[in-house]
């Protein structure tokens, strides 16, 4: 009896492990169909692959140390798919520096310890590029391993400066995001200058470095502009979130605020926004970034109104009116390849990152880590999809990005304007990206 | 035909033999005692009859049907109710609920209620404390409850495992008085006891068990001299 019971347990456990341990991998050979549907936006610098056959170019062996499951997976899965799509397109067009790139994606399950282990295995497997998670807290373990081995640690889309300041992790870590200094400042300028909101209430999510620095840069720039902070509160945006107390506290302050700023992430943020609207508070709400955006917002609060976010593109699946036709082309190609359209804007970042990686390798005519990073730093401003961006030798976020402002009314998201902040708030002497614009 | 008949019953726990080869029978309306020291296999015998442990070999027949290997619930439905060692009343149930639970195998709820009222009349202390948690009763009262609970299933045979254990002498007297009364009313009883003298006095017949088997079986009902004789011989054995 006992013995058979134990075997039962072991079998269940084993089945679970098997299910959880699967990982996907892909190479060019299986993706020619998708490549033919490549967007017209494949504007990667056309230094043609044919001319490149330099001896120092080895095939890129890309390991995606990225979550398929866990708390960060909503921000990882589609960006990783977009990254793979871009690589497939470049392979179909002749490869990168004349070589076919390969990629392998292993699920980190949003677990830092597991992330380190997977990164070490990637190094052992001969990775020359490690792609890390979309968030600093979850990317850092893999980026640290990559840095120690002089392998570029390209984050899909992290926004906190600790991942790009060349110091915290090191010079090998890089992201296609413009960074929270940029987004928080842009949001403050939109609030104060465009909308004329002079008073703000900041309801800060302390879940991630990302959410915290986003809030800090909004507050910094808003104060510089002359805005007043009429109240502040904090919550932790995990699944246990109980918004009732925050709403009670907000209820009294709401009357004095022109706008409620919620630097947070989905899905917790939508629960908070719903609770605020249910309480009858209709003050405009703004997320000074892209992590509260997309179909999760429109799907869960079908009548959401007076909500603003700052994504990287206005994705056709939920948003109308992006001025750049490449966005729709990208969305269609993504849909053709993966069977469903992007449900948030992050995939454009990682798509641009992959295209820039191709350009960097072409420029360097080399695949060793420092040469690739050096090429990233010196690439000219290039429009890979949504507008011209470039990296610099002292800030590994992108500069020059045209951030979108999106407005939600009656459950529909609409493009409002392109925005690049006039000035980045100066609140953190350790952030080289404050002066990089 | 005997009501209960065990023949060649052997009970092992792993490699340890608890009962070697036991033959025993209880006739309709008979009060039989199974006496012996701690550890001679008495409790294992009770458990085997009740279906809690399965003998390695031998046969157990009840009213001519083989019941060896059946589940406790099935054996109870056939008519063997157990008053287990240590009473094992449900301490967190009320006295009344303990009686109700005792009637689980009977299908007619109204009849069960009626029986419950009868038990409370028969055991006044149970009636008095019907709504009290059974764990609050004294040892003797709990023993009465355990017996009443077993009677709630209207058994054909009552199987008692060490009912006098841990009770004060006067209370033990009361328990034996109760058993005699039950016998007079026609109940069949198999009593397992260490308290040999009293058991032999009360029973129609007794079996004396020593490490794994019966060594003596005699009719002894009400025979004080015989009881004393077995008691002293038996005690002597025990101390040797």
């Amino acid at each position: 009896m006992k013995k058979s019971a134990l075997i039962g347990v072991a079998a269940t456990a084993a089945a679970t492990l098997l299910l959880a341990a699967c990982s996907s991998s892909g190479t060019t050979t299986e993706s020619s169909a998708a490549a033919s549907a490549a967007p017209a936006a494949s504007v990667a610098p056309a230094e043609p692959a044919a001319s490149a056959a330099a001896a120092s170019c080895e095939p890129l062996n890309i390991h995606l140390v990225v979550a398929k499951t866990g708390i960060i997976s909503p921000f990882d899965v589609e960006p990783a798919q977009a990254f793979e799509m871009a690589i497939d397109e470049m392979n179909a067009a002749g490869g990168i520096c004349g070589q076919q790139a390969t990629y392998t994606w292993t699920d980190t399950k949003s677990d830092p310890a597991l992330t380190t282990q997977i990164a070490e295995e990637a190094v052992a497997a001969g990775a020359n590029i490690i792609v890390t998670t979309c968030d600093f807290d979850f990317a850092a373990p893999a980026a640290t391993v990559a840095q120690a081995n002089n392998i570029p640690a390209l984050s899909l889309c992290l926004g906190d400066r600790k991942g790009t300041d060349l110091v915290t992790i090191g010079p090998m870590s890089l992201s296609p995001s413009p960074g929270n200094a940029f987004k928080g400042s842009a949001a403050a300028e939109f609030a104060y200058n465009t909308k004329g909101w002079k008073t703000a209430y900041v309801l800060q999510d302390d879940l991630l470095e990302y959410t915290k620095s986003l809030g800090a840069y909004f507050k910094g720039r808003f104060a510089e502009l002359g805005g007043t902070l009429v109240g502040e509160d904090v919550f932790t945006g995990n699944e246990q979130l109980d918004p009732s107390v925050n709403v009670t506290r907000l209820r009294d302050a709401a009357a004095n605020a022109d706008v409620i700023i919620i630097p947070s992430v989905v899905p917790a943020a939508t629960t908070m926004i719903k609770a605020i609207r249910d309480a009858g508070i209709d003050t405009p709400i703004m997320m000074p970034g892209a992590a509260v955006d997309g179909t999760l917002v429109t799907g869960s609060i079908p009548d959401i109104s007076d909500f603003y976010s700052l994504p990287f593109a206005c994705m056709p699946a939920y948003c109308e009116g992006d001025p750049n036709p490449n966005v729709k082309v990208f969305s269609d190609a993504f849909t053709a390849k993966w069977g469903a359209p992007p449900t948030l804007a992050y995939p454009v970042l990682s798509y641009e990152l992959a295209k820039a990686l191709g350009a960097a390798v072409e420029q360097a005519q080399a695949t060793d880590g420092p040469a690739i990073i050096n090429a990233f730093e010196t690439l000219p401003a290039t429009d890979y999809l949504t507008g011209p961006i470039k990296w610099s030798p002292f800030c590994h976020h992108t500069t020059g990005r045209l951030q979108r402002v999106v407005e939600y009314q009656n459950g529909k998201a609409k493009f409002v304007m392109l925005i690049t902040p006039e000035k980045i708030a100066t609140i953190d002497p350790g952030n080289p990206c404050e002066t990089a614009q | 035909m005997s009501l209960l008949e065990l023949s060649g019953v052997r009970i092992c726990y792993g490699n340890a033999v608890a009962v070697k080869a036991l033959d025993l029978h209880v006739d309709e309306g008979e009060f039989v005692a199974l006496i012996g020291h701690n550890g001679v296999g008495k409790s294992s015998t009770v458990k085997a009859i009740a279906g809690v442990v399965k003998p390695t070999s031998g046969s157990i027949k009840f009213e001519g049907n083989d019941i060896l290997g059946q589940q406790p619930g099935a054996i109870l439905r056939r008519g063997i109710a157990v008053v287990p060692e240590g009473r094992r009343i449900f301490t967190r149930l009320t006295v009344g609920e303990n009686l109700t639970v005792g009637g689980t195998v009977r299908s007619d709820r109204v009849e069960v209620k009626k029986s419950s009222a009868e038990m409370m009349a028969r055991f006044p202390v149970l009636g008095k404390y019907a709504d009290r948690m059974a764990g609050l009763l004294s040892g003797g009262e709990q023993q009465q409850l355990a017996i009443a609970r077993a009677l709630m299933s209207k058994p054909r045979l009552l199987l008692l495992d060490e009912p006098s254990l841990g009770l004060a002498p006067q209370i033990v007297e009361q328990v034996f008085d109760l058993l005699e009364e039950l016998r007079k009313q026609g109940s069949s009883i198999l009593l397992v006891e260490q308290n040999a003298a009293q058991a032999i006095r009360a029973a129609d017949r007794y079996y004396l068990m020593r490490t794994g088997g019966v060594i003596e079986s005699e009719a002894a009902g009400g025979d004080q001299a015989k009881a004393d004789q077995v008691e002293s011989a038996y005690l002597h054995f025990g101390k040797a």
Partner: protein
């Protein structure tokens, strides 16, 4: 202090209380701490998404049926085979089962949270003497009290309830009086599953999405609630769960902003203190093995 906080805290407390009851019931019957209980609530959440367009009574009934089905399946396929094994084996089984159901949900519904279109019926708010009370809070409070009374009546007044309690105390003796433990334990899983379904409806009424990991925090709250309430005691479980929610919300309400993010740490410090003073929980049941 704003008295509204008390209303908020009671709302959360009532919900946590209900969560805890469902877990504590199965524990008290078979000594099993079913860590897959949270997954039942998660399954309830997905049922709500699938049944969202149905009339409300069908949504409630359907969700209860789906969750009870999974609860019974859990008992039959995972827990019955290990019922006589050690407590540790059962615990490991429940963890493995929780993992399995999570992965199953992930395969079925994807890694991303699924948006849950809200029942605006439940977010209606009323004002009494300056206090704002939502329909969801009233419903949660009423349901929790009804479930507690219902459980008390069931356990005290019905045969199955008395058999449940008898089995809780002494499974071996319960078999000797003819109680069919399979039936009794299945009944406990039916009740536990029903409670999990009701929790899912009330819990997700304030959420905007369901994900495969939605059950994790729920089972943790219920477990700690049951422990501080006193394992094996229904009233204790209800009280323990209520205090978890009430105190957590009050901490969030009253702590200064710098400390507010450590509300969890304060809460669990209090839990440890309660257990140091009363190791058996607030209302300790006798004869419980852990």
């Amino acid at each position: 202090m704003n008295p509204q906080y008390i209303v908020d805290a009671i709302g959360t407390g009532a919900l946590y209380s209900l969560m805890t009851l469902g877990l504590a019931l199965v524990f008290s019957v078979m000594g099993l701490m079913n860590f897959a209980y949270g997954q039942l609530v998660m399954i309830g959440g997905f049922s709500i998404i699938l049944l969202r367009s149905q009339p409300w009574w069908l949504l409630i009934l359907g969700t209860i049926l789906v969750v009870v089905f999974f609860s019974l399946l859990m008992e039959r396929l995972a827990f019955r085979p290990v019922r006589n094994a050690t407590a540790m084996t059962m615990l490991v089984t429940s963890f493995a089962l929780a993992q399995f159901l999570q992965q199953l949900a992930r395969v079925a519904f994807g890694a991303n949270p699924k948006p849950l279109e809200q029942f605006s019926e439940l977010s209606v708010q009323y004002e009494f003497a300056g206090l704002i009370v939502s329909r969801q809070i009233i419903l949660t409070l009423v349901t929790t009290i009804l479930v507690l009374i219902g459980l008390a009546l069931l356990l005290r007044k019905t045969n199955i309830g008395i058999q449940l309690r008898a089995s809780t105390e002494d499974v071996g003796m319960a078999a000797l009086v003819g109680i069919k433990s399979n039936r009794v334990i299945a009944a406990a899983f039916v009740i536990s599953g029903t409670i999990a379904a009701i929790v899912a409806i009330l819990f997700f009424a304030t959420r905007t999405n369901v994900s495969w990991s939605s059950g994790d925090s729920i089972v943790l709250i219920a477990f700690v609630g049951a422990v501080i309430g006193g394992l094996g005691s229904m009233v204790g479980a209800a009280l323990g769960g209520f205090l978890m929610g009430f105190v957590y919300t009050m901490l969030n309400a009253l702590l200064p902003m710098e400390l507010r993010v450590f509300a969890d740490a304060f809460l669990y410090t209090l839990v440890i203190m309660v257990l140091l003073i009363r190791p058996g929980g607030l209302i300790a049941a006798k004869g419980v093995r852990v």
